[in-house]
């Protein structure tokens, strides 16, 4: 039963991203700053750090599915988020073997993954000719505000979810033993 919690939470964040911009004041929305919520990605990173064991790859499968869902629901250009999220979560899975899971590591991995994912999205959109944006403008107007706002989200998410994910991993482990 607890296995279904993670996809449900991811689905909840997916839907919440659609109303995320309503939380920001209009003055920020109409300015040049582009703040993009990567909440699904941040939760995937936390899953990769706290829920995965050495032999499991749930977070990569979830990254594939929910990346594709974001593409279908919010952009209509398929594959972009799916590819970037999956790649980033794969890298995080590799990196977490080096680090021990605590808040600083999670923050660091969160920042790295947001940067990588957002840059990957920028590169793909530029290559596909959907946007034209200079790297300078992109870094100042989009990347920086996006990183900062997503760190704030991660700081809220961490105390709520970290312990739970570890508990679910243990439950999953013992649950499998009884099967």
């Amino acid at each position: 039963m607890k296995r279904i919690f993670i996809p449900l939470i991811l689905f909840f964040f997916l839907m919440l991203e659609g109303v995320a911009l309503d939380f920001l004041p209009v003055s920020i929305l109409t300015s040049d700053l582009l703040i993009v919520p990567h909440w699904v990605l941040l939760f995937l990173v936390m899953t990769a750090v706290f829920y995965e064991r050495d032999t499991t790859y749930y977070s990569i499968i979830y990254a594939l599915i929910f990346g594709l869902l974001i593409d279908v629901v919010y952009t209509g250009i398929l594959g972009v988020y799916m590819f970037s999220y999956t790649l980033v979560v794969y890298l995080v899975l590799g990196l977490r073997k080096i680090f021990h899971g605590n808040i600083y590591v999670t923050l660091l991995l969160g920042i790295i993954s947001v940067i990588l994912a957002d840059v990957a999205i920028h590169v793909i959109y530029s290559a596909a000719g959907i946007i034209q944006m200079m790297w300078n403008d992109y870094a100042i107007n989009r990347l920086l505000p996006t990183i900062i706002s997503n760190i704030v989200f991660l700081l809220i998410l961490y105390p709520l979810m970290a312990k739970r994910l570890i508990r679910w991993r243990e439950a999953h482990l013992t649950g499998r033993d009884t099967l």
């Binding site: 839907m15 659609g18 939380f23 109409t30 398929l78 790649l87 999205i121 959109y125």
Partner: protein
Amino acid sequence: MNLFRKKRLFIFLIGFIILVVLIGYSISERDDLTTAEQFINDTVGWGQRIIHTPVNFVTDVFTNINDIRNTYNENQLLKEKLAEYTGLIYENQQLSEENEELRNLMEWMDDETIRDFNPIQATVISRSPERWVEQVTINKGTQDGVETNMAVITAEGMIGKVQSHSQSTSTVQLLTGFDQFNRISATISREDSDDVFGMIEGYDQESDSLVFRIIEESDQGLEEGELVVSSGMGGVFPAGLPIGSVIEVGSDQYGLTRTALIEPAAEMYNINHVVVVDRELPDGDDEEDEEEND
């Protein structure tokens, strides 16, 4: 170890090929979403409808506090406007009666004009978090009669057009996301001289305004603040939907035609209730389709 590296590279390359194929498929001209996409859109839309209500309530509280501060000034302004409107209503009644009489006189049996439309009321349930893709999702779809390319308006003016539709939701491309492939035939109406005709040819990010290329100029130059409305000549949108007002006039990069920058009349943020405009007069394409179906 070497084998693993090769395997990884292989998977990465396959992923990359899938990415290119998917992007190519979704950018290409396609009329309808696939069934799978429609199903996903409807399912997520169903969830969003539930989430939207409490979130909207919370954000509305903050907006309301802001609004209350401006209430007094707005009230004064509105009272003045209201006094003007009583005169206008009378005038309007007379004009519409006169119009009807004249139409009867000309024996226009067909009541449908380029101006008429069926409004489909809808609520915005989400907005794309990807800021480069300017689109919102509304809670009406194919079942309510929404179709691709219908204009979407708010009380203030036009905000965009329907990009794709699922069974019970549809996505609306906002004016701010328009490019040269989404043109709107538009006009500036003049009382005492010829009307100005032209095309809205996309959105200029730098000046935050729509680009209006003038095709047929009037003998009088454009002035700032003049209202641009859709002309209905494009065959998709009905005539008379307000688009925006002129803020600057200049010539294009080759100096051959003149372009004007238009500030959209409607606000593109904080959109809540919209109306999907279903043009009553069928356009050329539809008639052909119907003939083919017969």
